[in-house]
């Protein structure tokens, strides 16, 4: 390739056999190798890029779309249950929270806490 038959021999001889034309040969050879090498790497990695794009389509976008469609279909068909407000339920929640605070405050529990917000609607 490019007149260099033996890859074990230098193209440029840094001794009395030095010939200026060797630099041209080296430039041609090195430049060609740089071009071939970089094009090969870009080509291989672009093929990988394309494969990953197909990946995304097959294993991410399509399953996500199917899942979305499924959830939309199920939300349309099933009526949302209406939760009715009852004072009894509210009192029950207050009792649960108060009991949890009392348990945490109890001696020997070892818990350190701070009540940040507590509102009654």
């Amino acid at each position: 390739m490019f007149g260099v038959e033996n890859f074990k021999e230098p193209i440029v001889q840094l001794n009395e056999n030095f010939d200026i034309s060797q630099l041209g040969t080296a430039a041609l050879y090195g430049g060609a190798m740089l071009l071939i090498g970089m094009l090969t790497i870009f080509a291989v990695l672009c093929i990988l890029w394309a494969s990953l794009a197909v990946f995304k389509l097959c294993f991410h976008d399509l399953p996500a779309r199917r899942a979305r469609e499924k959830s939309e279909a199920s939300s349309d068909s099933v009526a949302t249950p209406v939760v009715e407000y009852t004072p009894a339920a509210d009192a029950e929640i207050v009792a649960v929270i108060a009991a949890a605070i009392a348990a945490a405050e109890a001696e020997g529990s070892g818990l350190k806490f701070r009540v940040v917000s507590f509102r009654r609607k």
Binding site: N6, I41, F59, H60
Partner: protein
């Protein structure tokens, strides 16, 4: 009694050192060993590798110890010892590996046997197995555009090849030198043991030293090539990657890369096998072994045996200085190549990509990605680029393995 004492004194390392005509070369080697120990222990630059390498160098330069016999691995030794080999070598052939193994087992010592793992190309592949098991490819799968930055960051590999030809290196030697720019020690060793085994010590030490010095080498060029506004770009969060994608990725990459460049198979194949162990979720024991015990053992063997190839006779030559300078050029050009690719992609995407992550395309996982993260945070403390930089970083590992495959397919035996 006096004769015995004299005999003992003559056989001491100090006496042998003083009698050497090039005794000063040993002192220089000890100074280099000291610098490597300093980098490893005090600066904590790649200590897992630099320390065994430095100690291997120390062992190889102990006068009279004769711990490694590099001549066992070169044709000249067999031509001189076994006349029947002369005809084979004269005809352009090489001494068969079976003969080398026989000689090492019969005549060699521990370091010779450990060096067989380098010569046979066993260690780089096993190291890649561990690296693959430790690497998360999700950022690359989530953002496959990063592959282009990993490709752009291989520019230094071929630029160093180009310059090495002008300095009187043969194309095969120039290929081995150029691969330093891939910033990947095992890849550099894998290529060099085939293309230029006589340069292995210098190339391995240059590759690992520069990998260790990435936090010092890269930032000035990152600031030079990018603007402050570009460094401040915040990238959007990466999408989540499913397990199925993670499992299929290593299989697809192996198939594609190895079908195009079969010479890259020992590196890419083992890198992806290690990753498959990790992501499959059914081979936890194998994954843990690859990530811990196996890679640690191989790192010790590789470091010590590679360090031991750097003895005073073959290391202190003008070409070693050329290799070190060319290796630095390769590293810098690779960094710039990644950054320029990042800048182009930044423009093409309307400023959605921070070009700093391109510098991580030089491989050296994960240090190059950390440097990109640090530089991003220096520009804007709320910027977080690490996961984005991991994409080009792991793409660089694949890219440098492909570059190695290109050199091996052109110049390999």
């Amino acid at each position: 009694m006096q004769a015995a004492i004299e005999k003992f004194l003559v056989k001491t390392g100090i006496s042998i050192l003083i009698e050497q005509p090039d005794w000063w070369k040993y002192l220089i080697m000890y100074a280099i060993v000291g610098v490597l120990f300093y980098l490893a222990v005090v600066k904590k630059f790649e200590p897992l590798l630099l320390m065994p390498i430095a100690f291997g160098m120390l062992l190889a330069n102990l006068p009279g110890a004769d711990l490694i016999h590099l001549d066992f691995f070169f044709d000249d030794y067999y031509v001189a010892k076994y006349p029947e080999m002369a005809a084979l070598v004269a005809a352009g052939g090489h001494v068969p590996m079976s003969e080398i193994i026989k000689e090492v087992v019969n005549e060699g010592g521990l370091l010779d046997i450990l060096y067989l793992g380098v010569k046979l190309g066993v260690y780089p592949s096993l190291i890649f197995l561990g690296v693959g098991a430790m690497t998360d490819f999700s950022p690359l799968i989530a953002n496959p555009k990063s592959l282009l930055m990993g490709a752009g960051a291989q520019l230094g590999v071929f630029a160093a090849f180009f310059f090495a030809l002008f300095l009187g290196f043969s194309p095969a030697e120039a290929g081995a030198i150029g691969i330093i720019g891939g910033a990947d020690g095992p890849t550099a060793i894998h290529v060099t043991k085939d293309l230029a085994p006589h340069l292995l010590g210098a190339i391995a030490i240059a590759a690992y030293s520069y990998m260790a010095l990435i936090p010092i080498i890269q930032p000035p060029f990152m600031r030079l090539i990018t603007t402050k506004a570009e460094r401040e770009i915040k990238m959007t969060n990466l999408r989540s990657v499913s397990k199925l994608e993670k499992v299929i990725f290593p299989i697809i990459v192996t198939a594609i890369v190895c079908l195009i460049i079969p010479d890259a198979a020992p590196l890419v194949g083992f890198l992806m096998l290690g990753n498959l162990f990790n992501v499959s979720g059914v081979t936890d024991r194998l994954s843990k072994t690859a990530q811990n015990e196996l890679i640690n053992i191989v790192t010790i063997f590789l470091g010590v045996s590679v360090g031991a190839t750097a003895n005073a006779e073959n290391f202190l030559k003008p070409q070693t200085i050329f290799i070190i300078v060319l290796g630095l050029c390769a590293f810098i050009i690779s960094t710039c190549g990644g950054l320029i690719t990042g800048k182009i992609m930044c423009k093409l995407t309307g400023g959605k990509i921070n070009p700093l992550i391109g510098s991580a395309g030089v491989s050296a996982v994960p240090m190059a990605a950390r440097v990109a993260q640090d530089e991003g945070r220096r520009a804007d403390p709320s910027n977080f680029l690490l996961m984005h930089a991991m994409g080009p970083n792991v793409a660089g590992v694949i890219g440098s393995a492909v570059a190695a495959g290109v050199f091996l397919s052109f110049f390999g035996s």
